[in-house]
């Protein structure tokens, strides 16, 4: 192309890593701040709550601003702030295990697929199979065997993420392996392992970073939906989804019951979407 001017030597300042540049944009910062707020609330839950998440008081469905219960109480007189904060904490605990687990398994399978054509076929069919069970159907199948609880939720979320990460990385590796700089490295004597770790993977990883943010939102939804259907974490332990589903019968009567988890989930998901979008924009350039 001759339309635009040729590349000029960049200013002397060393360019920042593209991810950092992406996160420094207004969009990226807002996203990170929103996510950080929710995460911090979850981490500090025992300090901030003031009540145990399952402690019951005589006040049922007290409105917000009630002395001692800033967000009010639920139908069983439990403090909503405590339930919300501990719910965030429980959700974070599930998500922080499930998404990395799914991502790791997916990436390992993708690496196996890159190693041998037979492995590739097997892995691809396995991904097809998992994808053939849409999210909640998978959840039903897993809980059918394991019963409700924390482990099935983690397992369902992880399983749902395996093909997402696996397919992305597999495509990334395929695309990058065909690039000329990889041939150049091979001709330059670089060993196969180093080509994979130093050349192919750093360039194939970009879409994965975006996928992590997307997967975290999917995980929040799945947890909520499973709690809502009664196949999630066992009550009375609070999760965001559990508190929300409890509040549903009282929606018209005591909307503050639902407000806490609703705002939290929306904040978290919005933060994650903004972060993903910021990263995506920078990477696509």
């Amino acid at each position: 192309m001759t339309t635009l001017a040729a590349a000029k030597p960049a200013p002397a300042r060393k360019p920042r890593h593209p991810y950092r540049a992406a996160l420094a944009t207004a969009r990226g910062r807002t996203g990170l701040a929103l996510v950080g707020l929710v995460v911090l609330a979850g981490l500090l839950a025992p300090l901030l709550a003031g009540h145990g998440p399952t402690d019951q008081s005589a006040l049922a469905l007290a409105g917000p601003g009630t002395p001692g219960h800033p967000l009010g109480t639920d139908d069983l007189g439990r403090d909503l702030l405590a339930r919300l904060l501990h719910g965030i904490r429980a959700d974070l605990g599930i998500i922080a295990v499930a998404v990395p687990l799914g991502a790791a398994v997916g990436c390992l399978l993708a690496l196996a697929a890159a190693a041998h054509p037979v492995a590739d076929t097997v892995v691809q069919r396995a991904f097809d199979l998992i994808l053939a069970f849409p999210g909640l159907i998978l959840a039903l199948a897993v809980t059918a065997v394991l019963g409700p609880g924390r482990l099935p939720v983690i397992l369902v979320i992880a399983l749902a993420e395996v093909p997402a990460f696996g397919r992305l990385l597999r495509t990334g590796i395929l695309v990058q392996s065909g690039r000329e700089y990889v041939t150049a490295a091979r001709v330059g004597g670089t060993s196969g392992g180093r080509i994979l770790t130093r050349h192919i993977l750093p360039n194939a990883a970009d879409p994965l970073v975006v996928q992590i943010a997307v997967s975290l939102t999917v995980a929040v939804f799945l947890e909520g939906a499973m709690s809502f259907l009664g196949v999630g974490v066992r009550p009375p332990e609070p999760t965001l989804g559990a508190v929300l589903s409890q509040s549903m019968p009282y929606l018209a009567q005591a909307p503050h019951f639902a407000a806490g988890p609703l705002v939290t989930v929306t904040t978290l998901v919005l933060g994650l979407s903004l972060t993903a979008e910021a990263l995506n924009r920078e990477i696509r350039r």
């Binding site: 053939a132 069970f133 849409p134 159907i137 039903l140 059918a144 639902a258 979407s273």
Partner: protein, 314 residues
């Protein structure tokens, strides 16, 4: 076209076969004696024995599997122990409701997704763009179970214009049926519509930046025609594939939406069967849903190939 179908068919059949193994294995993975689990805690040994006999639980596993598949192929699914009645009838009833819900949602997905995508990619109006952005972000950021309840709150409780739940079959009473269908279909459709809209927007924007659009512009073709006749045909094939994937999500989401709106479909049936530990029904349902999904995928692949002339020649 036939050659393309033949090439895609084996892997689809493979997935179905593997899915049937998984569904079959489910009942056998549940801890404890399956017959005892199915019969429930209070059942007499005679009931348990009858169940064992009916399901052939004493036979070797391959024989059990073949009996099950044979039953599926002949339409004989046996009775449902926990819910009562014939499993085939239960599924047939639920299937109608779920298909109605999913198709209704699909209509919303296509209409809203197209509107979001095309407006988002082509509008120059800041307010239009802002609205599209807020709606798509909102549809993705609010979980469907919350959207569902909010929809009920607004349209059924506050405004009282639509029923809060339940179903009147569309074929028996179209005007009433639509009223019942509207909210659940919309609730089910919103996240998928947002995904489709974003994808379509990206696709159109990418296509509009391609060289051939420049060629067409230089030839004096009007912007409107450029969008509809030149850019959309290019952006469409991947969107069709995405739509296939989203149909799977709709089937999954139906489980949730049916619970919110008391919609008597397969999702409700699955949840009931699960709660009452009626594993044969769960097993049948799983395989049915996967089959539908695989068929939809196959169909979208064919449509994709039809829309993109390059694929047929590869």
């Amino acid at each position: 076209m036939r050659r393309y179908l033949l090439r895609r068919l084996p892997s689809a059949l493979l997935v179905l076969l593997a899915a049937s193994f998984l569904a079959f294995a489910l009942l056998r993975l549940v801890p404890g004696d399956p017959a005892a689990v199915l019969a429930g805690p209070d059942a007499s040994p005679a009931t348990e024995a009858a169940i064992r006999e009916r399901l052939g639980l004493d036979d070797p596993l391959p024989a059990q599997y073949l009996r099950w598949i044979g039953g599926l192929l002949t339409g004989d699914l046996g009775p449902s122990y926990a819910i009562g009645g014939q499993t085939a009838d239960l599924i047939a009833d639920g299937l109608g409701a779920t298909v109605e819900l999913t198709l209704g949602a699909l209509l919303f997905v296509v209409a809203l997704g197209a509107a979001f995508g095309i407006l988002g990619a082509t509008s120059r109006n800041r307010w239009t763009l802002g609205t599209v952005r807020v709606l798509t972000t909102g549809a993705l950021a609010v979980p469907p179970f919350v959207t569902g309840v909010l929809l009920v709150l607004v349209f059924a409780v506050l405004l009282g214009v639509l029923p809060p739940g339940g179903r009147v079959p569309l074929l028996t009473a179209p005007d009433l049926g639509v009223q019942y269908l509207l909210l659940p279909a919309l609730c089910l459709a919103l996240p998928s519509a947002a995904v489709l809209g974003r994808y379509l927007k990206d696709g159109i924007e990418r296509t509009l930046a391609e060289d051939h659009i420049r060629t067409a512009t230089a030839a004096g073709i009007a912007p409107r025609r450029l969008l509809w006749r030149h850019a959309l045909p290019n952006a469409l094939p991947p969107v069709v594939t995405l739509l296939g994937m989203q149909t799977g999500h709709l089937l999954g989401g139906a489980v949730l939406v049916e619970a919110i709106f008391a919609w008597p479909g397969l999702g409700q049936l699955a949840e009931q069967a699960l709660v009452r530990r009626d594993y044969p029904v769960v097993q049948d349902l799983l395989l049915l849903l996967v089959t539908v999904f695989v068929l939809v995928q196959l169909l979208t692949d064919l449509v994709h190939a039809r829309l993109d002339p390059r694929i047929r020649w590869e």
